[in-house]
Every structure is written in structure tokens, then in C-alpha cells.
Symmetry: C2
């Protein structure tokens, strides 16, 4: 059973507040050397650590951050979490992890619990466009940051990548390889990344003078299963695409499975490009060409942003947007020595 201030005070024959001041190294404390030594010995001996709950109540800070994501088994979010924890732990924070499976109701429930727990900050990576949960979050005075996806335009603190540019890089790469019928396994239009990556896809096609074929855009969502279904749809078309841009790497993984089952060779029969560059992308055979974003850094930056809000008390809606890079692997280019194209990894301050 952990020891309390009161018990220590009794053993040291002093008042609890004196023990507290010694423990916290209060500079305003004037104390006899002998007393101090006695108390310090006791603190060490008992390995006293102040009760975090009581401390949290008094100081109004819990030293807890919360991360809300769809699903930690998705490698993207696992890497993101590591980034967050790596940013938070050195500052004394620990991190609550909440999975929503993309269900708004669960997200809401989690956020309410978190608010009741008085977590010091929230990092949210499961938002929708027009998300009531985010609006609610704004009203609370809890520091928060949205990651990867944003909600209503530009009004929240945010860290992510330039999705339009990333999607354009991906699509232009396929166009450059001579593809004309390029499919898109698209994210939901209720999610910012879904919308913006579509936009980039369309922009690249239109820039190249390729007329958009509505059949070639199939909504897949962001996970493997949806990718597989959408790919099936594309391959069942009368004139199936020769290449596809998948809204995420996991979606691309689903597409790989379908191509394999149908006996299609990647990239000869079907070229595929993904988005995010999760570790799995490089391990696929062939390696998945994808748009690289600094996932771990998303996390550490997000952590720093929320910590900054906590420490300064100012909740400015700063946005950090990273420039994506295309990473070419075997899924688009048969003889690919892996190479990195696209803009350098510089961070740009504005969207």
C-alpha cells in the first residue's frame, strides 16, 4: 500500500505540508537542515510518490493525454500512436488509447468519458467532415489536435499531409507510365482525406487531358476489405482499368489480394499505388508504390502541439501540413529500383 503525506508527517514529527514542500523542493520553504535531512531520508526510504489523483484534483492537471483513432490494429494508427507517445512520455505524460472503429457513437462516448476524466489533451484521428464530436470538443476548453483528417475547414489545430498534392503525385505517376484508364479506390466523402484525395486524382487526370470515367471511381473506404470489394467492382467492368490509385495502403492490400486471386500480375496487368507508406507497403510483393507521409512525426508533432496548448493555455488553431513524397516500388514499375520522387520532405506551414 503506497504511503501518504500524512503518514510520513507523523513519522517525521512534522506537519504534512512541510513534507510536501520538501518533496516538491519548494524554494519558499525555510527549514532547518536537520529536519530536511530527516524528511528526505524518509522520502527515499518509502519511495514516496504523491498520489496522482489527489494531485490532479488540486492542480487541475492529470498528465494524461488521450488518443482517439478508428483502430490500433491498422498499422497507420499504430505508428501514429508511437509518435504521440514518444512525444508525450519525456514530458511526463501517459496516453489513453481509444478505438472507435469509425463509429460516431463510440467516438462521442469516448470523448465524453475523457472529458469527465479531465485528460489534459485529446488527439483525434477519427473525425469526419462536419463532425458534431469536434464541435463539442471545441466548446470544451480541453486542448486538442486533429490528425490526418480534419473537420470543418481550417478552424481546428491540425497536423496532416497535403492530400490533394499527394493524390496528384500518385495519379500523375501512373499517367506518366502511360496509363489512361486509371481507377480510384476512394475514401468516403464524409472524410477529409477521402474528399481531397479524390480531388487530387481528378485534378491529375484533368491536367493530363484525360476525361474522367465515373465507373473508374469506386468507394472503398480505408481498410482492406473495402479495397478488395472495390477492386472486384473495377475488374468486373467491361473496360477495366490498367492501374489503380488506392486511397490508403490498406485498401491497396485488399486490391493485391483480388488481383492475385484473379491471376493478374502486378504491375504488368494492373499497376497499383497506395497512400501513407506504412511499413507493410515495402514488404508486399511486389513492393507497393505509395505516397509517403511521416506518420510517426504526425504523432510527435501532434503531441507537441497539444502540450504547447496545455502549457501556454492558448488554443490557437495552428495547422501543420507536411508535403507528401512519392515512393516508387514494384507495384507500378516492373523494374523499379526503389526511388523517391516528388517534392522534398520540407514542412510547409500552410495548407
Amino acid at each position: 500500500m503506497p504511503v501518504t503525506l500524512k503518514e510520513l508527517a507523523a513519522r517525521a514529527q512534522v506537519h504534512p505540508s512541510t513534507v510536501s514542500r520538501v518533496a516538491n523542493n519548494d524554494p519558499s520553504l525555510r527549514i532547518a537542515q536537520a529536519t530536511r535531512t530527516r524528511i528526505e531520508a524518509l522520502l527515499r526510504e518509502t519511495e514516496y510518490r504523491p498520489n496522482g489523483v489527489a494531485r490532479g484534483l488540486k492542480l487541475r492537471q492529470t498528465l494524461v493525454l488521450a488518443v482517439v483513432i478508428p483502430d490500433i490494429t491498422n498499422p497507420f494508427f499504430a505508428a501514429l500512436f508511437r509518435g504521440i507517445e514518444d512525444g508525450a512520455t519525456p514530458r511526463g505524460y501517459q496516453v489513453l488509447l481509444c478505438n472507435t472503429d469509425g463509429i460516431p457513437e463510440r467516438q462521442r462516448a469516448h470523448l465524453q468519458s475523457l472529458a469527465a476524466r479531465r485528460v489534459d489533451g485529446v488527439i483525434l484521428a477519427s473525425t469526419f467532415l462536419k463532425d458534431p464530436a469536434v464541435r463539442w470538443l471545441r466548446h470544451q476548453r480541453t486542448p486538442y489536435v486533429l490528425v490526418n483528417r480534419f473537420s470543418d475547414e481550417g478552424v481546428d489545430p491540425f497536423v496532416g499531409s497535403d492530400d490533394v498534392t499527394g493524390a496528384m503525385l500518385a495519379t500523375q505517376h501512373l499517367i506518366g507510365l502511360g496509363h489512361v484508364r486509371i481507377g480510384h479506390l476512394a475514401g468516403q466523402p464524409t472524410v477529409s482525406t477521402g474528399v481531397l484525395r479524390r480531388k487530387g486524382y481528378h485534378a491529375a487526370l484533368s491536367d493530363a487531358g484525360i476525361a474522367a470515367d465515373l465507373d473508374l471511381l469506386v468507394e472503398s473506404g480505408f481498410v482492406e476489405e473495402g479495397g478488395a470489394q472495390a477492386m472486384e467492382r473495377l475488374l468486373s467492368l467491361d473496360r477495366p482499368p490498367t492501374a489503380a490509385f488506392a486511397v490508403t495502403d490498406m485498401t491497396a492490400v485488399g486490391a493485391y489480394g483480388v488481383a492475385r486471386r484473379r491471376g493478374l500480375r502486378i504491375p504488368e496487368d494492373l499497376a497499383i499505388v497506395g497512400y501513407n507508406d506504412i511499413p507493410l507497403a515495402a514488404r508486399l510483393i511486389p513492393g507497393l508504390t505509395t505516397v509517403h507521409v511521416p506518420i510517426h512525426e504526425f504523432g510527435s508533432v501532434a503531441a507537441r502541439m497539444v502540450l504547447e496548448q496545455i502549457e501556454t493555455g492558448v488554443l490557437t488553431p495552428r495547422r501543420v501540413v507536411f508535403a507528401p513524397q512519392l515512393v516508387v516500388r514494384g507495384s507500378s514499375l516492373a523494374s523499379a529500383d526503389e526511388q523517391v520522387l516528388g517534392r522534398a520532405g520540407a514542412r510547409s506551414p500552410a495548407e
Copy 2:
């Protein structure tokens, strides 16, 4: 800013304790219907939620569980975490996630923070044999459960699989396919799974009358990079193995990479069997034959066990050991229709 009991009491012209009793539906409360209605309206209107920190202090329970693992980006731990959260959330608990990267010092630091925070329970999946952190945990009166790995024999609450049997299934499978020179990419002898899976490997060889060749056992640790290095070692032998049992699936993934770089065909030139059956195993090409363990269930059972300890207040060192199953895929059997061998998935109460 969230509302407090005191404010509500002022607005309802009653004492805070009365509001509290209404909010908590205290059956011992006798109250006029009018007053109750008035208070309830206020509670709804303000969406009052009691301050969890204050509540935690008074009630001595935080409704927080902590999970300590090596690394969430390892799919095994991601699946485990989901199991835990799925077991904990419905009971009102949220979950802190702590990554240690297998560094004892970090594990210790995390556990101390967690104790200071008064988390209600700890689920630890990063222990070593003879782990001082676990001994320390035993002295604290915090409910805890070890998962997958245990520490000193049998004295802690534990949920995991029968590692010896699992390793035997894997090795026997390779023997049954005619392999004689079977390598083992082994876990560290400081970790229970490392020790027990070696034991199973040796037992299977010895049962089959195959003399152990010390060169064929190379310590790889549990992650991809170590698997690659160990596989390099094995393949550089004068008489390299024709098959290998990897202590985890991630280790096997490392081996896949090496085999591929060296132009070896799996399973024709090198058969591989892993352990855990993470989702990635089935996606590899060829599919990875592996020992299936119910990872998600490890988590949900562990959560239930720790919740049970919390609720009953009794800390019995109950052990739940699952029987592993062999899942045969293409990495060991060229024409494999995937099949499930080995014992049925029944749960056995004892080790």
C-alpha cells in the same frame, strides 16, 4: 468549462449532497418529487458528469486500466490491445497504453507512474523471467495480469498459450514433411516464450530421434530484424537447414526477406513455420504456416481477469492457458490447401 456539483446546487437551491444523490440515484434518498424533477432537469440541461478525478480520489478507483507492452506497432500487441479494450470499455474502463521497447528501465518507469496514478489494474505483456518489475508489482496491491509471457513460475495471474506444445506442433509438422535439418530462430532465454518454445522444438526433435545440432539454433529475438540476421546465419552454414521454426511470425517475416534476397523459394528450398498467427501471416506470399493462438481473446480474458480482481478484491494467481493450433499454409507445404491441424481450440485451465 464543465459544471460542478456546487454550481448545480446553487442553481437548484439545494445542498450539493442532494444533487449528488439524485445524480447517482441513491436509493437511500428521500426527496420531494418536485425537487427531484427540478434537479434532474438541471442535470440533463448541463450534461453534468461528475469530475472523474475527484470521484477517483473519494472512491479510490480511477476506472483506468494500463497495458504495458514492448511495441504497439507489432501486430501481435495491437491485436492484444484490442482484445483488452473490448473487454474493458463495456465495463466503463478506459485504457492507458505504455510501450517499453523491451527496455527494463522503461518498463519500471512506466509501472511507477502507473502506480502513482492509481490505475485500477495493470496488464503486462513485456515481462522477463526473473523480472524485478514483476516482483515490485506483486508488492503493490494493484491487480495485475501477465499476458503471453510469464515471470517466475506460476506465481502470477497469467493468460497465454501452451508454448511447449505449440512449438512441438510446429516442429513435428516440419519433421512430418520429411525435414531433418530444422533450424530454430529462437527467442531470448530471458523470456518465457523464448525458453518454452525452444523446449518444444528440442522435444519434438528428440521424440523423432533427430540429434540436436547446436548450429541450427540461432537467437533471433522476437522481431523482424533479428529474424533476418538469424536467418542469414543459418543460411551461411556449411549444411544449412531445409526448414526453420521461427519463435514469432515477425521473426519469420524477417526470414522471408532473407530467403527472397537469396533467391530461395519457400517452401521448396526453405520451409518456414511461425508462431502467433498474426493477420499478416495469412497475407504473406506464400502464406505463413504458423501456430495459431487467440490473440484477441488473450486480451479480453486478461481484461476480465483483472476486472474480476478489482471487483472481488481477491488477487488469486489464476492461470489461463490456451491450447495452440497449427495452421498450415504455403510456407511449409507447396500445394497447401489451408488446413487446421493440432488440438481443438478448447481452453484448458492448467498449464
